[in-house]
Subunit: 190 residues, 2 copies
């Protein structure tokens, strides 16, 4: 890829994505691969019972640390009454579905933009099946998380369905959820 | 497990969790396993560029559909400027870390309560490493999501570290992120 602009030197923007900047990023990563090394970070604090709060302040990428200019962002986890909570916030597995929905959408839109494919609208519906016996430790053969996640994406675009579907395969959260990943959990007392 | 209450018949509450209700849930699932079949659901709508919004209205569990009484909940995904977004909301992989932090915490707190272990405080810090070359499609050997996630949980409790660590292994989101999972993505045009 090479940097592309319009004939008048304006950046090309497709689907609300600055495609000129996207191609510049790819070119920069080719020259300096360390630009691609990102690290995302959150901190979380228990607030009692089912409630806890995450703060997102900064991340590393493109060879620098970045503060979220409109941050810090805060997000709360809760549990509904049937899962013994106060019902004041979505629960963690609902946030996983939220992350997956958003990542599939953003990935489709960005990759479509890079290929010059205009997308008019995207909506999606997600379902995750979970057998609570896993979490409760009642049956070791039952997994604790989702057994299956189903996603339906409804897209308005001139591109064909196969092309649109193939774009979603670049999604980081799709990769995280669908494939195994080393998660190192360390507990310290203080 | 059998239902437990205090000598005066009050529910036992440990760590803000109604332990009596937790044991009642376990007993109910033993009698009627379908109570444990949960399905979580979200819908999402693209708002242009890096922005999309999730709505969480209801879920299925304990043999019934439940509306979120304080819902519907809405959560926004965005991307920072260095990832060609407006920087107005956390991005999907940050939400994955948020979900993981919250689920590890809630799981530790609930399972500790069931064992009569009091927990005074929990904080956690999470980092996820991500090589952007995967998302950009520049190298097929680079995965698109996190290569590794590290979690440090700092807990104030009388229980020993090994016990506290073992409780986190029941976490649904830990299971979802660390182990592979079938994710069925279907794209439709309309």
């Amino acid at each position: 890829m090479t940097t592309q602009t319009t004939a008048t030197g304006e950046p090309i923007v497709t689907n609300g994505v600055n495609v000129s900047a996207l191609f510049e990023t790819v070119d920069a990563v080719k020259r300096t691969p360390e630009i691609a090394d990102f690290q995302f970070r959150v901190s979380n604090e228990w607030m009692g019972g089912d409630r806890n709060r995450t703060t997102v302040k900064d991340f590393h990428g493109a060879c620098a640390d970045h503060e979220h200019g409109n941050g810090p962002f805060q997000m709360d986890n809760g549990e509904p009454p049937v899962l013994l909570g106060e019902g004041e916030a979505p629960n963690p597995v609902e946030y996983v579905l939220h992350a997956l929905a958003g990542c599939l959408t953003t990935t489709m839109v960005y990759h479509a933009a890079a290929r010059g494919i205009a997308i008019e609208s995207v909506t999606s519906e997600l379902e995750g099946d979970l057998d609570l016996r896993g979490f409760l430790g009642m049956d070791e053969t039952v997994r604790k998380g989702f057994s299956t996640v189903r996603v339906i994406m409804r897209v308005r675009s001139d591109a064909d369905v196969e092309t649109l579907q193939s774009l979603t395969q670049f999604s980081p959260v799709y990769d995280i959820v669908s494939k195994s990943l080393p998660v190192e959990v360390s507990v310290e007392k203080f």
